[in-house]
């Protein structure tokens, strides 16, 4: 009898895709009262962590578990790998307690990110709600690294209160640039806030962009994305030029565990970024 050639899992060059690599936390930045950014460096000295804007990693806290978190750093390699996380669940709360010098497990990057290539030579409209700015920040870095090849760039950012705004110093720096148009708004003004008050969708109507030659990238709570899409459609932006990032439960990040299914797609590999044209049939259906 001809026995089939036996091989173990550790065949040459083959890494189990569920394995995780320890990264050292080099710095923790408190962004808001419940949101923090972590700068990370691989423990095994290796190449720069390369990813595309909008992709995510599976972050593992030793002894607690693993969660999908989008990457918020500069994909062009000007800064270390950064994840910006809100402490809301068991794993992210355990992560909140980690300090510089501690380690995290990382595997990734996974998923289909924002269409930066498609946005070349177009106006770019970025609409973010709350922590939704984190996965969009790499887009801004990418554009700024190659600013001449894009048209007008508009960032519209809304949060509940001024204290919930992420990356405040950076936003101030960007606001002073002439080649970025940034508008911010809050649901509820507190302290010394003198800016816009109201939902982020109110900023869309008065923003300068060419609706026929623009790409819109939207990330925030589903309800915010729904109304943002409506406003963009009102401005005449086509569905295939509107992109949104969907959140689903993910256990593996590589399309093998089934949890993140959204219609016939897997949010982990076919998303998390979708054009609105792709998912509009499912987007307004409940419990899909």
């Amino acid at each position: 009898m001809v026995a089939r050639k036996a091989e173990t899992l550790a065949v040459k060059g083959q890494v189990d895709p569920m394995s995780t690599a320890p990264f050292r936390i080099t710095r923790v930045i408190k962004e808001t009262q419940d949101t923090f950014s972590m700068e990370l460096a691989p423990e095994a000295s290796g190449e720069r962590f390369s990813f595309s804007p909008g992709q995510f990693n599976m972050l593992y806290v030793f002894g607690v578990g693993e969660v999908p978190i989008s990457i918020s750093s500069d994909p062009t390699g000007q800064m270390p790998l950064v994840h910006t996380t809100r402490a809301v669940g068991a794993v992210t709360q355990a992560m909140w307690k980690l300090k510089a010098g501690d380690a995290l497990g990382i595997r990734g990057p996974y998923g289909r990110g924002w269409p930066v290539e498609q946005a070349l030579h177009n106006d770019v409209v970025i609409v973010a709600g709350g922590i939704g700015l984190a996965p969009l920040r790499p887009v801004i870095y990418s554009i700024l690294a190659d600013r001449d090849r894009f048209g007008r760039v508009v960032l519209l950012y809304g949060t509940r209160t001024p204290e919930d705004m992420l990356f405040r110093k950076e936003l101030e720096k960007w606001r002073s640039r002439f080649d970025l148009e940034i508008h911010m708004t809050v649901d509820r003004a507190t302290g010394s806030w003198r800016g816009n008050v109201g939902v982020v969708t109110t900023l869309i109507g008065r923003s300068p962009f060419d609706h026929q030659n623009c790409v819109a990238m939207v990330c925030g709570p589903e309800i915010m994305m729904r109304f943002t899409v409506l406003e963009l459609q009102k401005r005449g932006v086509n569905d295939d030029r509107i992109f949104i990032s969907m959140e689903r439960n993910m256990k593996c990040g590589i399309g093998l565990c089934g949890h993140c299914q959204l219609g016939s797609s897997f949010a982990c590999k076919d998303g998390p970024v979708y054009s609105f044209a792709e998912i509009k049939a499912l987007f307004t259906k409940r419990e899909m």
Binding site: L9, A10, D16, M18, V88, L256, G258, H259, Q261, F266
Partner: protein, 369 residues
Amino acid sequence: MAVNKILPRDDFQRLISFLRTDGYQVIGPTLRQGAVVYEEIQSTSDLPEGWIDLQDGGSYRLERSETSAFFGYVVGPQSWKQFLCPPQRKLLTAEQTGKSFNVIVYDEKPIKRAFVGVRPCEIAAMAVQDKVLMEGPFVDPSYRLARQNAIIIAVNCARAGGTCFCVSMGTGPKASSGFDIALTELIDQHGHRFLVEAGSEIGIGMVTKLALGDASESDIEAGEKAIANASANMGRTLDTSGIKELLYTNFDHGRWNDAASRCLSCANCTMVCPTCFCATVDEATDLSGKCAERWRKWDSCFTVGFSYIHGGSIRTSGMSRYRQWMTHKLAYWQDQFGTSGCVGCGRCITWCPVGIDITEEARAIRHTR
């Protein structure tokens, strides 16, 4: 390859011994707690000789048969996925080292297994799981390892069960590929014997070494007749024409609520399904907290926690979970993997405690508003 041989009933032990001698763990059907289950077998006396299963929605009973067939039953609650994609598998161990940790990926040793008694619908189910777990951009290395080290001894169906609908799904009752050897059990005036067809190099090698005699034309005819009998007696049918479009345009059909009013969300259908692949990952630490293990475990889209994201679950109603499961099986799967996720084995109907019937639900969606 289409040369047919004959294996007499009394020589079946030779086949088992042959595989065992060659280092294969032989897994086959055996009786356990009132059901036919798949376990390691040593000899033909472990096989469910002379037993058949009577199946219907929410009902499974074993009964003595009029014949002494080894494979008179149809399918039991288990499928081969428990060996290829086991209910629990260790992924890795992490050991704390100061402020960091070391990761030790679980290096699984291959086990050579011979699956004896694989039904044509189960071969189809393996092909479906192959697409999901080893033919996409990411591969489950444990699944591939188990799959590559498995020999498939198929047994074509001479009898259809009460919940079978493989004919509708185009997966049976005769295996056309995906096996090393396919058997058809024959019991008539010429005796108790098996028609043998080799389907691979390994199968040809086995047939040669077993030195089996050629099948006669009447043997081949008897085999075809037995399979035709199974075809003609399917317990259920499912009209698959345009089923994807049908379900995609009926997310709001009233029948989903009707099914949900009966569904217990117990997840039985997903556990017995030979193609369901959903899994979660659990973390387990030892008492010192210095050593953690990560385990992949079967999960089910029928649990509320399955779709949990911060703030709550996406699919909170039983209606949405039943709709997700059935639409995935019959429609989404086609877009995802180019095949139906259902092979027509009928297990989800038989093992549903309230007898919800996927063929009946699909029919209701097609014919009612």
